[in-house]
């Protein structure tokens, strides 16, 4: 049963990831991307990582997708260089890298015993994560707030610059 769920979810995930690359309209890309995000959230649910799935839904499916749609509406599309057919040269360069990555991943899956290394998750995801965040990982947690501060200052600088001309 677990395997069946996993196969269905991951097929949807791969299909929507491919869809996001292959369709032309930017809004359709976002819809496919949303499908990808939802299927990843579903696979987290299947693995009983509730908090991660919830965060995936709240942050990606809501905040980031909405943000992207807002950005898409502000872009002057008539000025943007559109897709001009198949990039042959890039494909030739990308193919060996792609084949190498796939081959290496398959080798890893076959030759390693990662499933033996799996740890049982704590029953109460949220409180376990909260406790760790405020005790052991207090230093990186505090530092992460600086990232937001820096990004906010940067956004204000460039926003102001545009407003002033």
């Amino acid at each position: 049963m677990e395997l069946l769920v996993f196969v269905v979810i991951s097929t949807i995930a791969i299909a929507s990831a491919l869809g996001a690359i292959l369709v032309k309209s930017p809004i359709h890309v976002m819809v496919w991307f949303l499908g990808f995000i939802l299927s990843v959230a579903a696979s987290f649910f299947a693995l009983k990582a509730d908090l991660l799935a919830g965060l995936q839904l709240v942050i990606y499916a809501v905040a980031i997708v909405v943000f992207y749609v807002l950005v898409i509406t502000t872009i002057p599309w008539e000025k943007v260089k559109m897709f001009e057919g198949f990039y042959k040269k890039e494909f030739v360069f990308a193919l060996p890298a792609f084949l190498f990555t796939v081959g290496a991943s398959i080798y890893l899956v076959i030759n390693s015993r990662l499933s033996n290394l799996r740890q049982p998750l704590p029953k109460d995801n949220v409180s376990a994560l909260g406790t760790v965040l405020f005790t052991k990982y207090i230093a990186p947690f505090e530092l992460a707030s600086f990232i937001l501060l820096i990004a906010m200052i940067g956004a204000i600088i460039f926003g102001k610059e545009k407003a002033n001309g």
Binding site: P140, L143, L149
Partner: protein, 493 residues
Amino acid sequence: MDIRLLLGSTNLYEFKYLLPEITVFFGAFVLFLLDIVMKNSETKKRVFLWISILFLALSVLSFSFKSAFFKDVFSGTYTIDTLGMFSKIFEIVLTLMVLPFLHTYMNKKNTFYYEVYYITFLSLLGMMTLSSSYNLVVIYVSLEMVSISFYIMTALFRGSFISKEGAYKYLIIGGISIIIALYGAAFMYAASKSLDIRAIMSSYNDANAAYLIVGMILFLLAFAIKIGIIPFHFWLPDAYTAAPTPITGFMASAGKLAFFIPLLRLVPYVNQHLYSSWMISVSILAAATMIVGNALALVQSDLKRLLAYSSIAHSGYILSVLSSNSSMGLKAAIYFVFVYSVMGLGAFLVLSVLEQAEEWDNQLPKIGGLYRNTGFLSISFAVFIFALLGIPPTVGFVGKALVFLGLAIKNIYWLGFVLILATAISTGYYVRIVVLMFMKDVEFRFKPHYDILENVSISLLVFLTFVLGMFPFVLWNGISNISEFLFKIANLR
């Protein structure tokens, strides 16, 4: 859960070890408030400069100097040790030297941003935390902090399209490198159930070997993008050319130093099982970087771009000696990364003064006859160029000799020969700059303006370039202790 229970599990007295970091953060905070309170004026510009200098000086003074010191704080996520202390002091001092140039440059180019001061402070804070942790989460968070500040600082050139374009390229490729680092971290965590590099590397066994090696190599590749290793260097020349020149110097010196520290910390923990995969990947990357970086620098006509490619080549020199994975190799790498930050910063700072001239467009022929315009500037530029080339008695020579020694100890001679070949290629462009400067007719008339602070910084950099080259043991004794201490701790595990 009871809040007192949570607070009790964090030892609040451990914050006293973070005094330099807290001082830097407090400086950023004060500047941030001043920016809101004060009205824009000439006085405000000078106040910002002096307050930044004051806080950086206070931060240097707040270090407690101890040798062979090691302490894990915050449940092992943050490490206070001698390597961290050395690199933090270097980063702060390099920032101190950049700030006066940044002030003049922004004034002259009519692109003054008060925000740049506190972004510099926050990126310095990121560098300091990056230099002092073995924990993957802290490394990731600090890496993001430094990188995001760099993306913003690259774009801070008012009305310049190239600056925005360079920043955008940096943003995209920097984002990819962060993702690769996270992917590697996920493999390492899956293999070892730990987030601490020391525990991860010593958890080697047959069952998790493949995942550990993949994680290690992906982690290495992510840092290779950050420090500009070929073939992941595409962002570097564009971003370095696009950024305001003092900021380029800041990224190439303090930034590069900070990005190298986690790799340096990894070296003592690469044990004999992991050694061959580490050696092969590092040495191939390093050989490609040294040869291709120097060959590409040879064909550049833009002086800033040329120095950017020379910075790539120097990353290759430093990375090459990490492949030897010995105490001697680590010493050479630490020495070289410190001295490169001195000479690289010097070269970029001289360029930033030259950019004051109207006629200056960074093209190589424009430097012709600079000696007749400004003696001090051209002589100090020649000193930095000779140091980058590696002529005795400057630091560059000692650095390259030590790298060669580090490679020879482990019998990796082929990489040593690649190093010599790369240096031979680099002679072409470095010597051309010096010949143009001293033996050609004047291209344009130019009287540079620099005040006392800028004079002091350039003189200090020239002084360091000579003194650390003629008396390398000033730095060497400290570095030697650091490296042996790191290996001793690694062997205890």
